[in-house]
Amino acid sequence: MTAASRTTGLAEQPGPKVTELGMLSIGLVAGGVIYLAAYLPRRAPLVPAVVLLAAAVAVLVTNVVLLLRRPGFAWWRFRQVARWMLLAYLVVAGMLEFTFVYDHTHGAVLALMTLLLATFTLNVPLLAAFTVAQFEGSRE
């Protein structure tokens, strides 16, 4: 923590760019979904969407690993926020998954959409919980 951040009480510890990496991961998910949707009602070639999904998952996993190695992080606050956010976004994801099935999406496209949705659903609580928890350490 810098002298300036100690003065202001802001937690500006050097650490992984969790928000930036999360934005990248969600952006890759959005890219995959837009790519698939742009071909509707035809079926898009799946390779580009698979590449985007793999990249999104890789960024998410990297983000989690980097966060786990962050010293002095307020994990109790992170867990408190993340579990409620995850619950809310699981409901949203469940509704979206239902619409995929309702619209007769099946096979590889359904699997791909489900994995993209799962990656999105994990990223959102991670970002919210991190943002809340990162300011917790400055007070203790």
């Binding site: 928000t19 969600i26 509707l40 606050r77 991190f130 943002t131 300011f135 400055s138």
Partner: protein, 200 residues
């Protein structure tokens, strides 16, 4: 107003003088549930007028709120004293936590169903590129909202629940919130261009 010194050397009202901050205003949840149920029923029934209403009213309100937050409330907030900022934030942010996701859901869900029904999602649609462009704009807004705007909203509410909120943290989070709202507001202008093009 009595104030207490904080670590930032600035002034914040003590906990006893601030209204208790609710992270999620529970009284608003029935209204949100009502809107979501009406939206789901409209989509399931493919009712044209309710779908148009949800898309146009939701989109108009979403655009207006984003522009208002980014370009009116933001500059005003910068000129307020720290206690006044905290007072405003305490009352505004819990409501935003319910209003924005509800408006976004209304607009996008109804819009997607309208596009399906109108054939605009089909690659054979003459202005399909504009539809894809609108998806890209929505993606940019979604990334901004989910990664910056919503986390800042929640984090500032947690900070304000503390016995002695740190004004520097509140200011930093509110600045992030206002700037993110300004970005989404600017993207809304792009959405207006695309939507009017599609509707012409």
């Amino acid at each position: 107003m009595a104030v207490v010194e904080t670590t930032a050397g600035t002034l914040a009202p003590p906990a006893g003088e601030r209204p208790r901050v609710a992270i999620v205003p529970l009284r608003g949840l029935p209204v949100v549930a009502l809107v979501v149920v009406a939206l789901v029923v409209s989509i399931a029934g493919n009712w044209a007028w309710p779908l148009d209403f949800f898309h146009v009213a939701g989109g108009g309100a979403w655009t207006a709120v984003d522009l208002f937050m980014g370009f009116v409330i933001g500059p005003i907030m910068r000129t307020l004293s720290v206690p006044a900022r905290i007072e405003l934030t305490t009352r505004l942010m819990p409501k935003m936590l319910l209003i924005m996701p509800t408006l976004v859901t209304m607009t996008l869900a109804a819009g997607f169903q309208l596009a399906r029904n109108n054939g605009m999602l089909s690659g054979s649609y003459g202005r399909h590129a504009w539809v894809v462009a609108s998806m890209v704009v929505v993606a940019v807004m979604a990334v901004t909202a989910l990664a910056l705007l919503q986390p800042a909203n929640i984090a500032v509410l947690f900070e304000l629940r503390k016995p002695r909120p740190n004004p520097a943290i509140v200011q930093k989070l509110m600045r992030r919130f206002i700037y993110a709202a300004a970005v989404t507001g600017a993207m809304q202008v792009a959405t207006l261009v695309i939507m009017t093009r599609l509707a012409t």
